[in-house]
Amino acid sequence: MAKISPVTGHYVDVEVDGLLYKVFYLENGTGTPLVCQHTAGCHNHQWRGLLEDDDITANYRVIAYDLPRHGKSDPPENSEWWTEEYKLTADHYAKFIVALCDALELENPIFMGSSFGGNIALQLALRYPERFSGVIPVEGADYSPGFYLDWWQHPHANAAQVCASGVWDLMAPQSPDADRWKTWFYYSQGSEAFKGDLYFYSVDHDLRDKLGSIDGERCPVVMMTGEYDYLTTPEDGQRTASQIKNASFIEMKEIGHFPMSENYEVFRGYLRQALETLRGKQPARA
C-alpha cells in the first residue's frame, strides 16, 4: 500500500502593496493555526518534521508557506520584477503575512518563524499585535547585522554553493548529517532570493529602540535560540526577550540556526515547551 503523507499543498492568491502573489503553502492538522515562516533563501520543506508531527498536528493547524520568490511561490505575477534589485523590507514582509492570514481566513493564528522569520515575528508583534494570539521568534533578535553580503550573489563564485556552504556553520555538529545535508540542499536552490532577504534581516530590521513598544500582553512572545547559532546568539535572544513585556526566552542546547530543519527531534521538545509557555500567557479574548 502506498505511503501517502497527510500533508497537503495549495496555492492561494495574495495581494499586497499592489503586487499579486500566487503563494504555495503546505498544511496539516486541525486546531489553532500555527503559521510557519522558513529562513532566508530557503523554503517550506524546512518544516517537514513539524508538518508530520502527529502530536502537534492533533491540536494545531500547521501552515508552512513559501514566501514569494522562494520554493514554489513565484515572484510577483504583475510586475517586471526582473528589472529591479530584490530588497525585502520589514513593511512589505509584515503586510504580506497579514494579507496571507486574511486570505486563508485564519482567526488568532500563532506565527512562528526562524532567522529572518524570527525577526519578522518580532515586527508582527510590534505592528499587528491584535492579529496574532502569539508569536514564536526562533533564532531572532532585535538587530542582526553582518549578513547582507555580496558573496551570496557574486558572479565569479558558485552562488548555490556559497549560499549553502556559507550557512553550514550555522548548524550544530550534533545534528544528523542527513538533515544538515537536506538543509544545505535547500540552500543551494535559493541564491537569487537570499541576499534580498538579508536586506531585511541585516539592514532594514532594527528594533533596538522599539522592543518596549511591543504589546506582549496582547500578543505574547516566546523566543527560542540554539547555542550553535553564531548570527543571533542565545545572548542576543535573551537580551531581546528581556526588553519585551511578558516575553520568555528558551535556549536550545546542541542545535543551531535552523533547528526545525537540522534536528527536528531535538527542536520538537523545545517547541512543545514554547507552545505550552504561550498557552500560559494567553489573554482573555473577546
Partner: protein, 135 residues
C-alpha cells in the same frame, strides 16, 4: 577553552591532513575543481596548503617570510584552533564562519578564491575534528 589532547608534530600533522583530504569521500566526489593555496595561521605554527583538483599537492610547514605564495589566509590563535581540533567542537568553534563572526579568526587575502572553493574547503577544515591540530 582548551583541550587535553597532545598536539601532533607539525610534519606529522601535515601528513595526516594530506591523507585525510585525499581519502575523504566528499572532497573526492566534489573536488574536481577544488584548486587553491591558502595559509593556515595557527599562531604557533603556520602552513601553506596547496590543493590541486581535490588532492593536497603540498603542505609547506612554517614557511619563511615571502617564501611560499598563497591566495587567502585563515588566521586564529592557537587556542581557537585547538578548539577546532576535537570531535565535537563547542559553539563558535565549529566552523570558519562561526569563529570569524564570534571569535578571533580572520579570513584575509583574496576571499573570492575562498568563496569559489567554499564547499570543499568547509569539509577540509572539518577534517581537523578527526586529524587534530598541531598547536
Amino acid at each position: 577553552m582548551t583541550t587535553a589532547t597532545r598536539a601532533p608534530a607539525p610534519a606529522d600533522w601535515a601528513r595526516a591532513f594530506t591523507e585525510a583530504t585525499d581519502g575523504d569521500p566528499e572532497i573526492q566526489a566534489h573536488g574536481k575543481y577544488f584548486t587553491c593555496a591558502y595559509l593556515l595561521d595557527m599562531t604557533d605554527h603556520t602552513f601553506v596548503v596547496r590543493v590541486v583538483s581535490g588532492k593536497v599537492a603540498e603542505i609547506a610547514v612554517d614557511p619563511g617570510p615571502i617564501d611560499v605564495p598563497y591566495q587567502f589566509a585563515i588566521r586564529a590563535s592557537a587556542d581557537t584552533w585547538r578548539n577546532f581540533g576535537v570531535p565535537v567542537p563547542a559553539p563558535m568553534y565549529h566552523g570558519i564562519w562561526a569563529a570569524t563572526f564570534q571569535r578571533d579568526m580572520k579570513l584575509e587575502g583574496d576571499v573570492l578564491v575562498l568563496m569559489q572553493n567554499l564547499r570543499c574547503l568547509t569539509r577540509q577544515i572539518e577534517l581537523l575534528r578527526s586529524v587534530g591540530v598541531p598547536v
